[in-house]
Each structure stands twice: as structure tokens, then as C-alpha cells.
């Protein structure tokens, strides 16, 4: 029983990270029908800069904030210079490879500056564990899924009640029509990438105290975030958050009862199977084929 609770709670923590990353993919995809394959590295950037900031004796909250802002700037620059030049072509190979290239470069730069080893980020959230039904977790871990849910509801509120949110929805629905209604589509896309990258970097800062920070931490987290977005349906914000949390829990159980390698095997197999059975994801909208 204790083990079960333990797996669920730590699964929710890592699942919250997947949910935040996947929400970023959802926002980018809605705006541009393209995503940043270096989104995992945005997460890494946030976490690494926070650690570097603390090293330079900047107070923790400011270091974290700087890391998050840097992540957002990174996302905007990437959209402008690596993705936008390639979205006009029908083939997605262009922006996939340019963003992968930038990811490789950022990761090696981070390795050069940060060293090839892992370090934790000290945070008040991991000072002492709390016990719930015998399972020990850090308050930080409990905060992550709550934050993911808050972001999801916040996004919904923004889309309903603010001008920029409604413009985002219009762009997601039909770019050309949105442009004809006087919406500056490029600015909305840039804003969306900024928002997505902000969430990605925030996920990095949030997860940094729980897992070790390293230059290579982003690749797998980013990929799993995308897998979660596909499972949940990349067009549905609640869908990706729910599947993110479930995916995290599933991973912890597989990891606990079998092994880490089995965790990756089963996780990605689930993604492929879901995609075959539900091409639009579990909660995604179906797009009607027109001839």
C-alpha cells in the first residue's frame, strides 16, 4: 500500500513535468503547426541557468526567474530564425532538423560551460520530506502537478477572456482568416512560442531540485513530453495534462516493478499503440479530410 502511494505521488511529480512540457508543445503546435524539437533543451536551459545563478550568489528566486526568462527568449529566437523560414514548405523536415541542430549546439555549449556532471539545485521545497499514508515525498514534488493543473486552467481562462488568448485561438483555427481579421499572426506565433518556452523553462526550474541538473537532462524529458502530447491529443490542453500525469504514474510503476530500461520500452510502445488506435490522441479533435 505504501509503495503504491509512493509510486503514485512521485509519478504525479514527474508526470506534472511531462504535462508542462506537453502543454508547451500544445501551444506551439496550435500556433504554428510546428514545434520546437529542442524544447527539452529549453527545460535544461532553465534548470542549468538557475544552478549557475545560485553559484554566482544570486538569490534563488531571482536565479530561477532569470533562468525562466532566458528560456522564453530562447524559444522566441528559435521560432523566428529556425522555424519560421521553414513553415511555408509542406514538408516538416526543415524545421525538425534545424531545431534538432540548435538543440545539439545548445546541449554541447551547456556541457562546455557546466561540465559533463550532474548537480542538484538547492530549494526550500526539498529541505524535509512530508509523509502521506506512509509514503515520503518532498513538498516540491507535490507542488509540480498542482502547478501543471493551475497552468492548464490559467491557459483556458486566458483563451476565453483576453484579447491575446482569443487571437491565439483564431490563429490556431485558421491563420489566413485570422490575418484578414487584422490579427498580427507572426506576433501571436512568437507570443505562443514565448509562452510555451516559459512553461518549459519553468518545468526545468521546478524539477531541478528533485532530479539532478545536467546538460543532457533535456533530451529525454522533451521527447517524453512530445510523446505525452501525442497520447493526449496535441490539440487538447486538458488532454495533454491528464495524459502527462497518468504517463508519469505508469512510468514509476514500471520502473519500480521491472527496470528503467523497461520503463522506456513500455512508455514509448504505449505511445505508438495509442497513435495507431487514436491518430488524434485520446482527447484530440478529429480533423475532417477534405478533397
Amino acid at each position: 500500500m505504501t509503495t503504491t502511494i509512493q509510486y503514485i505521488l512521485s509519478g504525479l511529480a514527474i508526470g506534472g513535468i511531462y504535462a508542462l512540457v506537453a502543454l508547451g508543445f500544445h501551444i506551439m503546435w496550435s500556433a504554428a503547426r510546428a514545434v520546437n524539437f529542442a524544447h527539452g533543451d529549453t527545460l535544461m536551459l532553465g534548470a542549468v541557468l538557475a544552478v549557475v545563478g545560485v553559484d554566482a550568489e544570486i538569490p534563488l528566486p531571482i536565479a530561477c526567474l532569470l533562468g525562466i526568462i532566458a528560456g522564453a527568449v530562447f524559444g522566441v529566437l528559435l521560432e523566428r530564425f529556425a522555424i519560421r523560414p521553414f513553415t511555408a514548405t509542406s514538408n516538416s523536415i526543415g524545421w525538425m532538423l534545424t531545431t534538432i541542430a540548435v538543440g545539439v549546439m545548445i546541449e554541447s555549449l551547456a556541457t562546455l560551460q557546466f561540465g559533463g556532471f550532474s548537480r542538484p539545485l538547492a530549494s526550500p521545497g526539498v529541505k524535509s520530506a512530508v509523509h502521506i499514508l506512509g509514503a515520503g515525498v518532498y513538498p516540491q514534488e507535490l507542488a509540480i502537478p498542482v502547478f501543471a493543473l493551475l497552468v492548464m486552467f490559467g491557459l483556458k481562462l486566458m483563451q476565453r477572456h483576453t484579447l491575446v488568448g482569443r487571437a491565439m485561438q483564431a490563429v490556431a483555427h485558421d491563420k489566413r482568416a485570422a490575418a484578414l481579421m487584422g490579427i498580427n499572426v507572426n506576433r501571436i506565433v512568437a507570443f505562443s512560442f514565448a509562452l510555451a518556452s516559459l512553461l518549459g523553462a519553468a518545468a526545468g526550474v521546478l524539477v531541478a531540485p528533485v532530479i539532478q541538473v545536467s546538460a543532457s537532462m533535456g533530451a529525454l524529458l522533451g521527447l517524453k513530453g512530445f510523446a505525452v502530447a501525442i497520447i493526449g491529443g496535441i490539440t487538447s490542453a486538458p488532454g495533454v495534462v491528464i495524459s502527462g500525469l497518468c504517463f508519469g504514474i505508469m512510468e514509476k510503476f514500471v520502473e519500480g516493478y521491472i527496470s528503467t530500461a523497461a520503463r522506456e520500452i513500455i512508455g514509448f510502445s504505449v505511445m505508438i499503440l495509442v497513435l495507431l488506435a487514436f491518430p488524434h490522441g485520446l482527447f484530440g479533435k478529429r480533423e475532417v479530410l477534405k478533397v
Binding site: A34, F86, T98, M105, S108, S269, L275, L276, V291
Partner: protein
């Protein structure tokens, strides 16, 4: 130009022979052998990326699968290098089929993620399945390459690799210039149009995946023999990126591009080693530079520059082609091409786009289907040609049931169509577009394509001549070598008609062929439709243009709100009150009467 490919293959062979003779030491030769192995992967991946237009970022997974299969077969079961290669090719080929399956439903970035996931799964299975794969420590003591127990010397193994790469490059070149290469390109550019021409897009994608998987599997086996040690960390995601980059850097879709790309990316890391920590960074930067500066790749850019510099290719002489009268005409007794649609109903959500619509196109007639915007005309066409499934009702062509068949099968039964918004294979030449339309009439298979047998050459010649004849028929001979997307709109419509006719249909569906044409072009179209009908092809014409319909149609059916409101000869239709009401609203006196009655 004709001798370019043979000359290139000759130079390639000369280089492969010269290198071992001049190699300074064993390390140099070994590095070159590594290039040959990567070349095999890249050449195979080119079919998937360059021809079928699909992105695989999991090629390292297939490479690993081949390596492990080959290594296990040789260490555990004592297979020689040929046996191991065959075993590895079969295993990775099966996984190629498995990977192709998702493409039925998803493509683009989703497919890329599926392939990435596949690579990660393979890597982790290799870690997890310790009893078979040795886990993280991997497999060592793989025997030296041997054939039937006779050990191969270093040079003999080199010979095996060089011959394999040369043969694969040649075979894939042959595939590229056959119907398979042509239709793979067509499917990559417009799946919808391909289906309407009877091209089996799923089959072609599966073929592309299997070719790229088999080559990766064989290359993997060679790699394990060359290295005599393999472990899971040799086959990572960054290797998949590297294999893809080889194809793109060299030139996707070209014959020698992937070989050149593989060469550069085998030797470049050696050169970059002096930068040590910056090596990975430089690698990412290179990828970025290629994407921006050389998106066509090295060979692709050279070809493009060459094509711009040389004088335009001479227009094809119409005498080269076969006249349409001999290639398209149907026997008089075959003239019974009759399309019968009975009580078709199609619903989208709560909306009935078609309700209980029936129509009968008699053999050899020009039948017009008209109706106001939103009347359900396009739905009707898409239902008959198999793109939509009717909720109720059925249709048949000459007594053969069409309902429930795939659109490609319907096309093969003799029903061709054009599209309201033209769906050409934009990056292929005008001539190739028509030749793609001819595909359903070709009978030669994969082996014949790979070996370029006399039968294959004869059929290709007929295909080409028929296509040239068709271009003359629609008046596009002088544009035969242009890319289809550069044609003006009116000519694109004509090209679409020529392409649809290439399959020798019995019934031609023209979906608003006059939309967007000038008056002069509409007159030309009218004459062309008459000449098509004279060949014995029944025509269903969906149109708005009343003059055209009155001039051409033998019979007119009118749709409104998804229902057939009239079906008669053109003059009777012109006077039909229901038709007038549908187009112009109720006449004033009747509207007044209705108003008074209420």
C-alpha cells in the same frame, strides 16, 4: 546527358577499386570500409526520404537490429557472413513493415516521433534482454567475416562491402527511374491525386520502409563483423540524425548524393576530433548550415545549377508520341460504361450533404450534374470515386459494385476524375505527371524494375509514348519538360485531364473544369470534351457554367440541398420551374400566392 549515369557509375567503380590499392595503412582502409557501411544505410534511407518523402529518425534502431541479429546468428548459430546478412535483412525488413504501418494514419512530425520512439525502444530492449544481447556490456568476440567457413582477408571483406554498396546504388538508381520511383514521388506530393489514379500509396510507402530497413539491417551485420564488438551505446538518436543528414547533405532523391553525404560524414568527425569538446557543437552547426545554405544537398544543388545554365530542353516532337486514337479508344462493344448511383445518402454530423440522390450516366454520353453552391455536387463526386463512404445507397459501374471499394480500386475499374482545386504533382515535370497517370496500365513488377528487363523497358517506352501523345492531344507538348507547378492555371486544368485520361478510363468525372478559365479557354475545353467523348469515354461533368452545359450535355441532372430535383435533356431542364426556383428563387407571382395563402 544520356550517358551521365553510366559515366558516374564507372567513376564510382574506379574509385572503389583504386582506394584499397592506394590506402597507406590498415586504419585508413578500415575507415573507408566504415564509409561503405554508412553508404549502404544512406542509399537505402534515400528511398524513404528522397522518393517517398517520409522522415525516419529511427534508422539507428534498424541498424542496431541488423547488427544484433547478424552478431547473434554468427556467434550462437555459426552462420557465415552471407547467412547472417540474410537473417538480419529478414528481421529488419519485418520491422520495416511494422514501422510502415503507422503511415497509413499519420505522417510528418508524428511519424518522425514514432521512428524516434522505435529507436529508443530497440536501444532499451538491447539493454534489457541480457541473456540474448549481453545487456550494457554488449556482444564481443564476434567471429571474423567468413563465407562457408573460409575466412575472408581484409581485402576480401573490403571487396564484399564495396560490391554491396555499388550494387545497392545501382539497383536503387534503377528503382528511381522506374514506375516505383515515379509513383513514390507522386504519392509524396499528392496522396489524394495518387489514389484517384489507382496508385497504391500504402503499398509504396511500405516498400520504401522495407528497402530502407533491409539496407540498414545488412549494413548493421557488416558493422558487427567489422567491429567484432557491439553495445547499445553505439546506436543512439544522434546516429539516426547523422544518417538522415547524410541523405540531405548529399542530396535527397539523387542517385549519388547519399554516397557523397555518407563519405563526408564519415570523415568529418575524424577531422573534427581536433576540436575536442567543440566537436558536437560543430556538428550541430553543420546541420544548421546545410538546412539554410544547401537544402537541396550537394548533388541537388549541382543539378539545379546545371539545369539553369544549360539551354532549355527541346520541346518533344509530337511524332514521338502515339496518337490517342490508338492508345485510348475503347471497343464499340465496351461502350456500355454505365454509372448507376442509387439512393445515395451522405451525412456529416447532423447535416445531410446528399439525401437519396440517384443518377444514371449511360454509356458514351456526356452527363452534366449542376446545382447551386452547397447543393452536394462535390460530395457526390467524392462519394462515387470512393473518397467518402455513403451512409446509405450504392453505386456501380457496368454492374460492378463500387460502394465500399477503395478509391484506388475504383480508379482501376475505369473511373478517372479531376479535382475542383487542381491536384497536380507540382514538382514533377508535365510529362511525368501524365506518365504517373498511366501507372495502372503497367504490369512489370519490382524485380523487373530493379533489373531493367526488356519487358520493363518496352512498357516504359509505351508509357512515355502514350503520355507524349496525350500531351499533344491537350496541347501541352511544348511544356512537357516544365515543372507542373509553373504552368498557368488554365494549362494545369488541361494537364489534369490528360493525366486522368492516361489510365484509359471508361468514365471521366470532371469536377468544375471550367472554374477560373477565360472565355477562350472554356471554348477550348468544350472542344476537348467533345473529342474525349468521341473516343468512347463516358463523361460526368460537374459544372456551373450554363452555356457550356447547354452546348455539351446529352442529359442534365440538377441537385439542390442534396436531392435530385430534376433530370432531363438540357432544353427541358432550362424550362423546369423547380430548377429556376433553385437558382433564382421563387417567381414573384408564386411568392405572392404563397404569401397570400399564409
Amino acid at each position: 546527358m544520356r550517358y551521365l549515369a553510366p559515366v558516374c557509375f564507372f567513376i564510382f567503380a574506379a574509385i572503389l577499386v583504386a582506394v584499397p590499392l592506394t590506402a597507406g595503412n590498415e586504419y585508413e582502409l578500415r575507415l573507408f570500409m566504415l564509409f561503405l557501411i554508412y553508404g549502404i544505410i544512406a542509399v537505402g534511407l534515400n528511398v524513404l526520404v528522397g522518393l517517398a518523402g517520409l522522415v525516419s529518425l529511427g534508422q539507428a534502431g534498424l541498424f542496431a537490429l541488423g547488427s544484433y541479429s547478424g552478431a547473434i546468428l554468427s556467434t550462437r548459430l555459426g552462420f557465415d557472413i552471407v547467412g547472417s546478412c540474410i537473417g538480419a535483412a529478414i528481421i529488419s525488413g519485418l520491422f520495416g513493415v511494422l514501422l510502415a504501418y503507422p503511415t497509413v494514419r499519420v505522417r510528418g512530425v508524428y511519424l518522425a516521433v514514432v521512428t524516434i520512439a522505435f529507436g529508443i525502444i530497440v536501444e532499451n530492449v538491447a539493454i534489457e534482454w541480457q541473456s540474448l544481447t549481453g545487456g550494457t556490456t554488449g556482444l564481443s568476440s564476434i567471429p571474423k567475416p567468413n563465407i562457408l567457413g573460409i575466412r575472408l582477408s581484409g581485402f576480401a571483406f573490403y571487396g564484399v562491402l564495396a560490391v554491396t554498396l555499388f550494387v545497392f546504388t545501382l539497383l536503387i538508381h534503377n528503382l528511381k527511374i522506374s514506375r516505383f520511383g515515379r509513383t513514390m514521388l507522386a504519392v509524396a506530393q499528392s496522396e489524394t491525386a495518387s489514389r484517384a489514379l489507382g496508385i497504391n500509396s500504402t503499398g509504396l510507402r511500405t516498400l520504401a520502409f522495407v528497402i530502407s530497413a533491409v539496407t540498414a539491417g545488412i549494413a548493421g551485420t557488416f558493422y558487427s563483423f567489422l567491429n567484432s564488438y557491439i553495445s547499445p551505446d553505439i546506436f543512439t538518436f544522434s546516429d539516426s540524425v547523422r544518417f538522415l543528414l547524410m541523405v540531405i547533405l548529399g542530396g535527397a532523391g539523387s542517385t549519388f548524393g547519399p554516397v557523397i553525404g555518407a563519405y563526408l560524414l564519415t570523415y568529418l568527425p575524424e577531422y573534427l576530433q581536433q576540436f575536442q569538446l567543440w566537436q558536437k557543437f560543430a556538428y550541430g552547426a553543420l546541420l544548421l548550415v546545410v538546412m539554410f545554405a544547401l537544402p537541396r544537398g550537394i548533388v541537388g544543388t549541382l543539378q539545379w545549377a546545371f539545369n539553369r545554365l544549360r539551354p532549355p530542353a527541346p520541346a518533344l516532337a509530337a511524332t514521338e508520341g502515339l496518337p490517342v486514337e490508338t492508345t485510348l479508344r475503347h471497343e464499340k462493344k465496351m461502350l456500355a460504361a454505365e454509372l448507376v448511383a442509387t439512393a445515395l445518402t451522405v451525412r456529416f454530423g447532423g447535416l445531410s450533404a446528399l439525401s437519396n440522390a440517384s443518377l444514371r450516366v449511360k454509356g458514351g454520353e456526356i452527363h452534366a450534374l449542376i446545382g447551386p453552391n452547397g447543393a452536394g455536387k462535390s460530395t457526390f463526386v467524392n462519394t462515387i470515386s470512393g473518397f467518402y463512404r455513403p451512409d446509405e445507397g450504392r453505386c456501380e459501374l457496368d454492374g460492378v459494385e463500387l460502394t465500399g471499394r477503395r478509391s484506388l480500386d475504383i480508379a482501376r475499374l475505369g473511373l478517372a476524375r479531376t479535382f475542383q482545386n487542381t491536384e497536380l504533382f507540382g514538382e514533377m515535370s508535365v510529362l511525368e505527371n501524365v506518365m504517373a497517370g498511366y501507372d495502372q496500365r503497367l504490369t512489370y513488377g519490382l524485380t523487373q524494375a530493379l533489373l531493367r528487363t526488356p519487358k520493363m523497358r518496352r512498357e516504359e517506352r509505351e508509357c512515355r509514348q502514350t503520355a507524349i501523345g496525350l500531351l499533344a492531344f491537350v496541347g501541352l507538348s511544348q511544356y512537357a519538360n516544365e515543372e507542373a507547378r509553373f504552368l498557368p492555371f488554365g494549362l494545369q486544368r488541361r494537364l489534369e485531364i490528360a493525366r486522368a485520361l492516361a489510365g484509359r478510363p471508361r468514365l471521366l468525372l470532371l469536377d468544375e473544369p471550367a472554374a477560373g478559365l477565360t472565355t477562350q479557354e472554356i471554348d477550348d475545353l468544350e472542344a476537348m470534351v467533345r473529342r474525349i467523348a468521341a473516343l468512347g469515354v463516358s463523361i460526368l461533368l460537374i459544372e456551373h457554367h450554363v452555356d457550356l452545359i447547354m452546348a455539351l450535355a446529352d442529359h442534365v441532372t440538377v441537385l439542390d440541398y442534396g436531392q435530385v430535383i430534376a433530370s432531363d435533356n438540357p432544353t427541358a431542364i432550362q424550362d423546369d420551374p423547380r430548377v429556376i426556383e433553385a437558382y433564382f428563387g421563387a417567381p414573384l407571382d408564386r411568392a405572392a400566392a404563397v404569401g397570400a395563402g399564409a
